[in-house]
Structure formats: structure tokens, C-alpha cells
Amino acid sequence: MAVTESRPRTRREARQKLGAYGRVQQAINELDDRVGIAKGGRALLDKIFPDHWSFMLGEVALYSFVVLVVTGIFLTFYYVPSSTQVVYHGPYKPLDGQRMSEAYYSTINISFSVRAGLLMRQVHHWAADVFVGSIVVHMARIFFTGAFRKPRELNWTIGIVLLILAILNGFIGYSLPDDLISGTGIRIAYSILLSIPFVGSYLAFFLFGGPYPGTAILERFYIVHVLLLPLIIIGLIGAHLGLLVRQKHTQFRGQGRTEHNVVGSPMFPQFAAKTTGFMLMVTGVLGVLGGYAQINPIWQFGPYEPTKISYAVQPDLYMGWLDGALRVMPSWEFTGWGHTIPWEVFLPAVIFPGLIFNVCLAWPMIERRFTKDYALHNLLDRPRDRPKRTAAGAAMIALIFTVFAASSTDVLANYFHLSLNAVLWFFRIAVVVVPIIASVVTWKICVEMQEVPGAVKRKRAMVVSRTAEGEYVAVLAEARPGDEHEELEPEPVPLRIEQPQTVGAGATTATAESGVRRVRR
């Protein structure tokens, strides 16, 4: 700004001085003088988000995480990460006089004494389950549409790491209340660490600060749960979204959509309004779940005591597949040469998840090895057009769901009055057979859908009638309601939103392929 400039004397003069956009302009000017935000800022406001419902799945995960952070901060004000044993005296009479850790005591207090404490606890727990679940569904969308292909392999990798961290932090989080079920979970985690050949006992002792249960694990889990892992997760989410902005969204094929553009709604105001509204909706749904759908009633389980256990011990949703794997595994322990390798633990609880996550991480490379496709891809595949990939994904999902279901063998056997042995053997066979069936059926469906264009359309009936001469003729029946030639609303040609880059470029607006296209029939 020029030094000679005089201060405005009247309001009118001040307003004129600010220009057409008033104080907003002034704020932008001040910021732009210092950090240069105007050009990039406008580009960001113009960023196009494709309008497809499946792009919303990642948003569910993101906003669940926001809810997790907010409710988690609330909980840290009241939770005491301590395994010191105390005696309970409080409003919940069934536990009166019982010995428990301070961690359990404070969680009981959050549930019964802190205002809105139970609500926040349950919302936090629900948000954790939805966080992991939505990551998985989001990942499935990315996988089946081929959005992980070049140039987005790195973001795929970040996403898988986020999934692993989400599961890990979920497990650590539900261990913190130190109730009977979660304490048993920690016991199992310790034994899984023990099962690792060569270093297992050292890892377990270093993590627990000595032999199980020790007095360090809750305190360590706490700081990992509220600081270490959330920081890493936040950093990775930042990288995930940063890459998304830099590489721009993928999009499905359609009118005016090419490998070299993005069609949809701009960041501001359409997408901003929709996504902010959606964030509030996700928050609302999680909150209503937390208020009306009881989850993890730790006062019913009781405090953790190493000698006690209850029936139907199942871990949280996202650990169920590992528990199921532990159940279907036969008892194949190796012993020899003075050593023991507990394969019955090491294989299902360490090797199996390691294998699953590594296959996921390596998938872009695996697929490239077969397709030899090194091109950049911004247009998405329809799952049916890539039968082999879709079949592989279906097999993976079938495998995970089968081992997940296997984590309730005892409950199923009890509920359906079946032999536990029969249920167990059913799952041992199903773990192998179901993924194979799923992949073959999926592949077949994909191939058939490719071969029959418009297979989903209703066919008009053929009416076979007999003439007076005894001749049979087939006549196409009259169109039924809904069969008639239907002109859906034509997909409009997208409008260019960027500022034109050359002088007089206004004329180029909206000239990408003119005319409308019949989208169906």
C-alpha cells in the first residue's frame, strides 16, 4: 500500500475504498499480502466434487472420526488411566464394595455420575464401530471401481494403513475400561504376542512392563490411544485428503466426462453445504445410536479379575474376524528341539491378518502384473467390466465375513441347538469353500452382465396364439405400464467453472460436446 494514502473520512468513502466485495475483500487482501491465498483459494473453492452417492462413504469415515475426537476429548476429562485397585462406593449399588481398578471405577462414574457421560461414552463406542466399518465399505468402493490404479496407489496405501490403525486404536480403546470382557481381550493380546517365535516373550514383556498383567498396560494403552495413534491418524487423514485435492477426484463415465476433466458440484457453495450438512447428519445418527442403542454396558460385565470370565466372550465388531480365525484353527502346536511354536495362535492371529493386509497393500502391484496397465486412470470401472478383479474382491469379502461369523460358534450352537463340533466343522469348511463359491458366482454374474446389454430391462411378453387354420403365431404383447419408450431426463452438458485461462476465453464456456444424450433407450 502506498504511504501517501489518506485515511477515508466518511463511511461512504471507506466503503468505496474497500471495493465491490467489502470487508471480505479487505480480509483477503490482508491475507494475500502475507501468505498469497487468493489464487489457490479460488481454485479450491472451484474444486469439483463428483455427484455420486458412493463418494460419500469416505465422508462417513471422516465424520465418524471427527465425532470420535470430540467425544474422546470429553471422556479424557473424566477417565483415570490407572490400574490401582480401589473399592467402589457410588450410585450403582450392585457394584458397591467391590474391588476394581481406578480405570473401571472412573468408567462407571462416567456412565452413572457424569452428566451426559454415558451418552458420550456410547457415542464414542458407536463412532469407533462406524469408523472402522465405513473405512471398509469405502475401501470396497475404491477397490471395485478401480480407483486405486495409477496415479492413486499411494492414497490406497495410506487408506489401508488408516484401516489398520483404526482397528488397532479401536482395540486399545475398548480395553481401557478394564472390565471383565476387555480385560480378557488384553489377556488374549498378551498371549498372541507370546506366540511370536524368537521374540514373542520379549515383546510381551516390553509392552506390558513385565509379566501379565503388571501395572503398566492401562497407562500405556491410554497414551497410545489418546495421543500417539490419533496423531498418526490425523496426519494420515491430512495426507489422504491432500492427495485427493492434488490428484482430483475420479469419476464414473458419462456425458462430457473424460480422463482429463472432473464433472460435478463445486466446493463452494454446493459441496460445502452438502458435506457440512452430512457431517451433522452423521453426528446425529451416531448420537441417536449412542443414546438409544446400548453398547458395551461394562457395569453388567463387572471389573476385570484374572480368574473370572463370562459366557459368550466376543470382542468388538472389528476384532471379530481375528477371533473367528482363532476359533477355526486346529490345535497345531509345534514342539521340538527345546522350543515351542504355537501355530494355533501365531498363524490365525499374526500371519493371517498380516497376509490379508499385505495382499490389500500390494493389490495395485498384483493387478498391474497381470494387466500390464501402466496408464494413468481417472475414469472409474464398472465392477462388471472387470470380472476377475470383482471376483477377487468378492472372495476376500466372503472370507472375512465367514471368519467373522465363525467368532460366534458357541452362540450359534447354543441358539440353534446344534452340536458345537458340527458348527465348528461347518466353519472350517466354509472358510475355504465360501470364498471360492463367491468368486466364481461373482465372476459369472459379471461376465453375463457384460454379454447381455440392457439385461436389467424388462422384456415384453410374447403372446402365442393359434389361428383358425391351426397355425401358431407369436406376437409381441402390448406394452405394459412402465414398458413404454421412456425418455429419462437427459444428462446435461457440464458447465465449465474455472476462470478462463486466456484472453476472451469466455466463449469456450459450455462448449464441451453440445447436445444431450439419451441415457437410457
Partner: protein, 346 residues
């Protein structure tokens, strides 16, 4: 910067740089200043609302916002009054949901419907730029390494040693070495069997079919001791139960005692199927035959539960003849084959 200057469109004013800021004022249907969408008439269908009946949508959104306002306002009152969880959840999160629903509907139905398009500018740099970056790294590193090889090696050595000493003692200091602690319990020769409250077990205390969790006297109160020492004492119908060859006097009067820590993952083997005389672990349904040396008859547990030999002292109280003959609980690398299977028990 000259490219950028050329790129300016007619009527655009460099408002951030002009001294007086008066230049912005080319009205072209979008108000003054930089046109948002140049050369698009105001009646372009892309700019129309997405809703066919905007008035009705406005009404619905208005109702949503009203519900949202009522909800969050009611939450304030409910919180002050200390209302129950359901009321708090319904007001706060119901309110937030309706506000969000209204806002999302606003964005979807009452804003320019588009669709809009933006170009995807290629991310890759020119071959020359790529080479320039590689050159900078390779050649400049080359200068450092070639000219000052010794210094570079020393620096690398120092950092490497720092890495090792930082990682190793750090990890090492998190806990003690396992040593022999995984092989030991507090059960010793002559340990008195007591329950959770420190009460010793007399030979007349238990009925046939009864079950009690026992600890060595003096250790029943610490979690760490409980976690490894816990043993399950069962009385079965027998005078002298021989669970396995070589365990002739381990279970007098049908009092048989096994480690309660499952050999699969360390859960307490807390369920007893009395009729079948099976100990069941509820975690992964391993079942151990009490009469047969607690051999696993079902499930993923690989080994029998170690048996504690017990006897009656002169007062008729149960005591341990000696400690467990093998480590209790799940397997680990250092565990020897001792105590595995029937053969070793002979």
C-alpha cells in the same frame, strides 16, 4: 508472472494490487467485480435450482431447521436439568441431524444444479524438470560424498550408532527381560490351597461335582499372582483318581487340581460341565477332560492343563505336593517340550 498477467480476462481487476480499488465494477449479470462464470446468461439451466418446486423444498428445509433449532435449544435445558441419556441424545443429536439434513437439502436442491466441469491439469512435470531435480540430488550428493568421504562416513557412523543406542535401550527399558518368569508360579512344595478370601480347603469342604478356584496361601490377593497361580480344584467321584500314568497319588479322594490358565490364549478355564466332567474355556471353547489329565478333547487348545499334585496335611487341609511340572498357560518360543503329552509324564 507475465503469463499470469496475460491470463486475466476482460473486466477482471487486480483488486488486491490497485491503490484505489475502484476498478471493480463491470456488471455483467453477476454483480460487480470478477465475473463468476463469464459469458453465461443468468437464465442458463445450469444455474437454476436443482429442485423443480423450490418453494416446497424451502418449506421442508425450513421445517427441518425449526426442528433442529428446537432440538439443540431443548438440549440446553435438558442438560441443565440433568435429564436422562435418551432425552439428551434425542434433543442434541436429533437437533443436529435435522440441521444437517436441512443444510444438505439446501445444497442439493436450492443451489445451481450444474453439473460443472473443471479441467484436470496434468500433474507431471516436463522431462527437463524431472532431470533437473534428479541432477540436483545426484550431482550435489556426489560433490559431498566424493570430496569429503571421511567426514561423510563419520557422520553416518555417528547417526547410525545413535539410532542403535536410542532404539535398543529405549525398547529394552520398557520392561524386564522375561528370564525364567514365564516358567514359574508361586506354587511350592507344601503350599496351602486357599480360595479367593484366603480360606484353606478342608477334605470335607467340597461335594462331589464341586469346583473351587484356589491359590497358594498368601498370593490370593495380587492380580499378577492370581493371573498365573490360579488353579481349579474339582472333586470328582473317586477315591484315588489317577489322571495319567505316573500321577498315582496326585488326586486323593477325587480332589483334582489343574492350572486354570487355558493353554490356548490364557483365558481362565471357567466353565465346568459337571456331567461330562469337562472343563470348558469360554473364549474359544477348548474342552479339557478332567479325568484324563485335562487333555483337550475339543477346540484349539494344544496341550493339557498342567496338573497340581495335592495331598492332605495332618489337619486334613489340602496342600500342594510340589509346584507345576511345566509352565502354565499359552505356548511361547522358549517353552521346552517338558510336560507335553502323555509320554513325558511317565
Amino acid at each position: 508472472m507475465s503469463e499470469l498477467d496475460e491470463a486475466r480476462i476482460p473486466g477482471e481487476v487486480d483488486a488486491a494490487r490497485t491503490d484505489n480499488g475502484h476498478g471493480a465494477g463491470t456488471a455483467d449479470g453477476h454483480g460487480a467485480g470478477v465475473p463468476l462464470l463469464p459469458a453465461v446468461p443468468a437464465d442458463d439451466p445450469h444455474l437454476a435450482d436443482a429442485a423443480t418446486d423450490p418453494r416446497r423444498v424451502e418449506g421442508i428445509i425450513g421445517l427441518c431447521f425449526l426442528a433442529g433449532i428446537a432440538g439443540v435449544a431443548a438440549f440446553g435445558g435438558a442438560f441443565v436439568e440433568g435429564a436422562n441419556t435418551q432425552v439428551l441424545a434425542g434433543t442434541l443429536f436429533g437437533g443436529l441431524f435435522f440441521l444437517g439434513f436441512g443444510l444438505a437439502a439446501w445444497g442439493k436442491y436450492l443451489m445451481p444444479r450444474g453439473p460443472f466441469v473443471e479441467e484436470r491439469h496434468p500433474l507431471e512435470s516436463s522431462a527437463r524438470d524431472r532431470q533437473a531435480m534428479a541432477a540436483a540430488i545426484v550431482e550435489r550428493t556426489g560433490i559431498v560424498v566424493k570430496r569429503r568421504k571421511l567426514l561423510g562416513a563419520m557422520l553416518a557412523t555417528g547417526l547410525g550408532i545413535f539410532g542403535v543406542v536410542a532404539a535398543f535401550p529405549l525398547l529394552r527399558s520398557l520392561g524386564p527381560k522375561p528370564g525364567s518368569s514365564l516358567f514359574k508360579t508361586n506354587w511350592k512344595k507344601g503350599s496351602l490351597l486357599v480360595d479367593l478370601y484366603g480360606k484353606p480347603v478342608h477334605r470335607t469342604d467340597m461335594q462331589v461335582g464341586g469346583l473351587l478356584t484356589v491359590f497358594p496361601q498368601g498370593k490370593e490377593n495380587t492380580l499378577t499372582a492370581q493371573a498365573v497361580d490360579q488353579a481349579v480344584l474339582i472333586r470328582v467321584q473317586s477315591t484315588t483318581l489317577v489322571t495319567m500314568k505316573g500321577r498315582g497319588d496326585w488326586a486323593p479322594d477325587g480332589y483334582v487340581c489343574y492350572s486354570k490358565v487355558c493353554t490356548h490364549l490364557g483365558c481362565p478355564v471357567g466353565l465346568y460341565e459337571q456331567l461330562l466332567e469337562l472343563l470348558v474355556c469360554p473364549c474359544h471353547q477348548s474342552m479339557f477332560n478332567v479325568r484324563d489329565g485335562a487333555f483337550p478333547v475339543f477346540g484349539p487348545a494344544p496341550r493339557p492343563l498342567p496338573q497340581l499334585p495335592v495331598y492332605f496335611d495332618s489337619n486334613g487341609f489340602l496342600r500342594a505336593r510340589e509346584g507345576f511340572d511345566q509352565p502354565v498357560g499359552p505356548g511361547f518360543w522358549e517353552r521346552t517340550t517338558q510336560g507335553n503329552g502323555r509320554a513325558s509324564a511317565t
